[in-house]
Amino acid sequence: MKRFVLVLLILAAILVPAFAAAEAEAPVEEPIVVDPDTTLVIWADDTRAPILEAIGADFTAQYGVPVTIQELGFGDIRDNIKVAGPAGEGADIIIGAHDWLGELVGSGIVAPIDLGSRVNDFTSSSIAGFTYDGELYGMPYAVENLAFFYNPDFVSQAPETWEEVRRVAESLQNAGTVEYGFVRQEGDPYHFFPIQTAYGGYVFGVNSDGTYDADDVGIDNAGSIEAATWLEGMVTSGNIPAGVDWDTYHSLFESGQAAMIVTGPWALDRLDASGVNYEIANLPGGGKPFLGVQGFMISSFSENQALAEAFLTEFVATTDVMLDLFDRGGRPPALIDALNAIDDPRMAAFGEAGREGLPMPAIPEMSAVWSAWGDAVTLIMQEQVTGAEAFATAAEQVRATIAGN
């Protein structure tokens, strides 16, 4: 008797999934056999991995190709693919930022990607970000940029220019309403760039085809110097405190001790958690922030490049998946349909602030810029040198480093 029950159970265990499978396969498409020889391996960070895990399972069910998601730290993906890719052990698809391209394309680690007609489904700035040397190397999913934040309890409307920021800061501080009108991180050039561009400054000049020209360093042009002098004035008049780090300046804004800051979508969670009243506005003076684009890239050592491309264009580039990625990551999507489907005034405000934004230079020469440029901003904020001197030195350092190597 016992044996009979056992046999029945085994039979049921075999037949039930078989019937279930038969039912699932019934519609139009042919039955699919999972081919274990062809697999897609995707490297993603902990924010994106669960979403990809889900769509990977769908893909396997529909197309018979197993999809493996491996979770790595966002920044580790770049370092690891450079070693694992050439050794034949890397992923087929990686998640990454567009400013890795100089390194990854230059070393032959990622392959060009052909989105075909779907290219027009993405915002032009996100496609421009992933274009390197005239070829597209990634399918973007999110764009991030800085915007201007102010506390409406202290500031009635967003300042139009950085001069106005100074006036508002002065009057607020003189009235004793806040401790500081405007706060920023001490040595950080990334958040300074919108101020620099507002005055007509730039980092690298742009060629006629839209690529960056490493021979044209604009850190000491008239506009950049003017911006540096503005910063110097704010520091000497006591309207910007020195020695503030990233965490501190957010805390100052959150606690109502500061009225205005510049920050990005990554800070929204903590601002909301603090309960501070804030508005997001365009950067004063028409300042252009750097655009950071995140997307999917295909390893040039993948045996399945065409499959990887098909997975991305047919399966990931859908409004639903892009909205999932938005829900988890909190960055405005690069897919136009997904962007339009979002009803979040904050995302719209970021989009507005980044409308004129410039893709962060992906050319390898950019690595020569960060430390010299950051040092210059630090020295101004520590009142060691004038703005003009600091930025002239930085430009010389950048030129010497690029020429010396």
């Binding site: 042919e30 197309y63 070393s107 210059a376 480093t401």
Partner: protein, 541 residues
Amino acid sequence: MQTEGAPAPSSLPGGPKPSHPFFSLKPVRLLIRFGMLAILDAFSLLFIWTLIANGRYPLAAFVFVITVGVNIAFLVEKAYPFRWFAPGLALMILMLVYPTAYTLYVAFTNYGDGNLLTRVQVIDQIESRTFAPEGATEYSWTAFRSNSDPDEYVLWIQTEGESFLAEVGEELTTLDNASSAIRGSLDASGIPTDVPGFTRLAPNQIFAILDALTEITFGEEPNTVTVDSVRVARRLEQRYLFDSVADTFTDQRTGVVYTPVQGTFTADDGSTLSPGYWVPVGGENFRRLFRSPSLRGPFIRVLIWTFAFAVFSVLLTFSVGLFFAMVFDHPNMPAKNVLRSLVLIPYALPAFITANIWRGMFLPQFGVISTTLENLFGSSPLWLADPTWAKVGILIIQTWLGFPYMMIICTGALQSLPSDIFEAATIDGAGPLRKFWNLTLPLLLVSVGPLLIASFAFNFNNFTLIDIYAEGGPPIVGTLTPAGHTDILITYVFRLAFSGGRGADFGYASAITMVIFLILATITALQFRFTRIWEEISENV
């Protein structure tokens, strides 16, 4: 030298023991020895084979040399003494000699971003690039798999009103010329459901075979068609043709010829094919280092602070460590063991974490040290922004991090000092200070001296602390290359090598490492000279 059967000298521990009274152990021991050796050789061979397969020839050569060495040591009776330090030697070759030799080798190559791949990989990659000739038609496609050979396919390709059957090596068949079976079975979108001998693949079946399909050229020259993506098939031509005799690539579209120059295929006008490959470049990295603006820039300042930092770190950690060691060594000290354990805490915690905590305490706005000083005295030094105070801050942290280690070694050394000479000194009327300067310290330095040199060498390259504290900052005003007041040699050149406009440049970084290694080796050699002076003192005491 030991011959089998001769009586074993008792001085060699573990040497052949006298035979067992009832049966000889010799064959058993031989069997074990050969067995172990065979297992080791098997693993080595497997390892070497894998390494060669991956193109890692230098490491394979080293493993081979080690394996041969171990075999000689255990098989040749004359090499008997080597058996005792064979494992140590093997590990030393693998962990010290090989990395050093490899770094030296890399220093003479252009290995780094832009030249990460091997020549074979680069030629493969450039050869695989294709382009669609101008005016090439884009087709949508449907694949059919052969019923007899699962690797054989035909395509049905369509473009505005035109349809073709594309077979490998045959001219494209127009719809009019196609067999009646095909013509009779067209579905609503104009795709035949029946190609004799073949089975039509559904859209969901083509994904798994997509990359196999892209490898196949359908049709006959010059009217060929290749699957380009899941939606498009078109004529694709190879972009760059490699001429293995001339060692050049020719661009099929423009006719430009690229010849290799230091690992990069370069045209006459200077344009290059990316990526480049990894190739020896002679002394180029060293030339670049000695010509680079970094040497004309703040190099001397950085070098002076590097020495100052290393010397002060050793002096301060040693003085504080010795002080605590002597305090805890005092017979009247209460709760010695508890206190000693507590004082060891800085040594037990990872420096990476504690250095960050210290940095936080030094921060101007919220740091506990800064705010306390401000409350007490009305102002606090700018620990991270002021050049002098930043250096003081770093030395304070390093002293706190390093003194427990010095305390441990001093405690050990103090306890091994002979007590008779101290008694003699007391009888001669020497006070405690006199005894410390003339007896304790010189005797201590004999045993501790080499460790102080090691500590000096460690701090000379103490990247972690410097980088965590202020990333070398605050910046020096008006230098030729970016440099900070607290930058030591290793952080300064690290930034140069990895932010010098090309991303990570391992060849250049290795060259710099070699130069720092030479500087450090020279200093250490000189210091060992000096320690001999202490030894002479100890002989005269």
